[in-house]
Amino acid sequence: MMFPFLKKAVLNAFDKPSTEAFPNPEAEGLGKYRGRIVFHEDKCVDCGKCIQVCSPIAITRTEEKVEGGTNITRSFDLTSCTFCGTCQDFCDEGSIELTTDYHMVAEDPKDLIVTGVTFKKDIAGHIVCDTSACIYCGLCMRNCPQSTIKVDRATKTWEINLDNCVKCGICIGKCPKKVLSFSEE
């Protein structure tokens, strides 16, 4: 037929158009859309995993010494983020959450930066391991965000690189035998 769409076009003219309303209520909360990041600052243990895995380097961290601890402000620059959700997956604490809010429009780019401040008490000591009870399973090595712990099952050795350690305390939680702890000095 010369004009295949002629009948369709003429019928469409009398149908209801399929355009959605502009501020469209149904479009909110679409199942799997990764939109604006919400940072639950209280859950964050400042392990620094998210900064490592963020490919567009959208997450920045600044420290500010306060008496009895440090205030760590972590800011997520949405104008530089690819919304891949990797940080959300790697954050064991679940402090990063990508909501389905897609209204990320701003005239001033500062409105698109999500920040959160977590207070971190100073921990005097450093991680020590009771090598006698340790079964060298390597769980602490795998869970360490900064991969400072080295465990060798064959030679039964456990050591830690203290200057990389950020004292997040994840290894203490992960150890099945509860042999890791902060030293008291």
Binding site: T19, E20, A27, A58, L78
Partner: protein
């Protein structure tokens, strides 16, 4: 009478914003989302948006992509050829920051270095509704610019 027509002209600047799309090295994710706005489901044309063929006809310049070195010079020249009052809208995160291409040898830095971006729509391919919201706000800015122009 003249005042009435001037007021009409200022308002209609927001009611018939024509878009001109410049792709400075984008991965085409934002380009197809922009064009998706003109499809029957989102229909940006109901607010008067229309893709214009030449920068001389444009009101809103929509830029997508991190400003690559090849496209930088052409971007600046085309932006200069758009008559006032004009708005620049950046889609996606590439124009604002270079996104994952940040620091590469051929990316010449954020768009802000070359032109003041009026509205930026974040999201790595922002949803068409978000783009339309951004364009709608840019259209409102056009009226203010038009008023400032003939003050």
């Amino acid at each position: 009478m003249a005042g009435k027509i001037t007021q009409l002209m200022d308002e209609s600047a927001a009611k018939s914003p024509w878009l001109y799309h410049i792709n400075t090295g984008s991965c085409n994710g934002c380009d197809i989302e922009l064009v998706a706005c003109l499809t029957p489901r989102y229909d940006a044309e109901r607010f008067g948006f229309k893709l214009a063929g030449s920068p001389r006809h444009a009101d809103i310049v929509v830029v997508s992509g991190p400003v690559t070195s090849q496209s930088k010079e052409r971007l600046i020249r085309t932006l200069a050829q758009v008559p006032e009052p004009k708005c620049v809208v950046s889609i996606g995160s590439c124009p604002r920051s270079g996104n994952v291409f940040k620091g590469s040898y051929s990316v010449e830095g954020p768009l802000e270095k070359y032109v003041h971006v009026d509205v930026s729509v974040a999201g790595c391919t922002p949803k068409p509704e978000a783009i339309m919201e951004g364009l709608y706000r840019a259209a409102q800015i056009l009226t203010e610019k038009r008023k400032a122009m003939h003050k």
